[in-house]
Symmetry: C2
Subunit: 105 residues, 2 copies
């Protein structure tokens, strides 16, 4: 089970990735796990939260926009994105946002 | 099943609400449904996406910060927030962010 990410005081960045899977999800779970592990090793990575209930929502947190750009361009990640577009996702949306305030317990 | 929200061109705002439920979830589902309906009626509301898989992630989209502030202060919502803090959630985090860029299919 995914935990609530430990994030620093704002500002930091959140990439909100929302998706629906197609009928062809062969290889998807493996790749999703690999990408979470790989993302966690990137400079500027802060944390990640994920849940799927029909709709899948994954929010990854980053220290700055350059780190997000580098992660998007990462070669293994680019290949995963290609497979996502062509095979696994029937629809998806990526939103890049700047966290300005947070609170909670 | 929740859909991917239809959102306008950025900028707009995303409230990322992440939570774990406690053992006492009596009344939670009803209230969650009511709050989605009530939020949808507020000025500045754009859309909402939600999934729970152990971790719950709900992202609501708003046109501006004032609309988010007004929604947080809404009396029925304030009562739901109180019950959430005191009863339903073992932990939660709310992050208010400004969407700067988005893409997808």
């Amino acid at each position: 089970m995914s935990l609530i990410a430990k994030t620093p005081n704002p500002p930091y960045y959140a990439v909100i990735f929302t998706s629906h899977l197609s009928d062809d999800d062969e290889g998807y779970e493996d790749m999703a796990g690999k990408m979470i592990a790989l993302a966690s090793d990137q400079p500027g990575f802060i944390g990640i939260e994920s849940a799927r209930e029909g709709l899948g929502i994954t929010v990854s947190y980053w220290s700055d926009l350059d780190s997000i750009k580098n992660w998007k361009a990462n070669l293994e990640h680019a290949e995963a994105q290609r497979l996502g577009r062509e095979k696994w996702y029937s629809s998806f949306k990526t939103r890049i946002s700047r966290v300005e305030r947070d609170y909670g317990v």
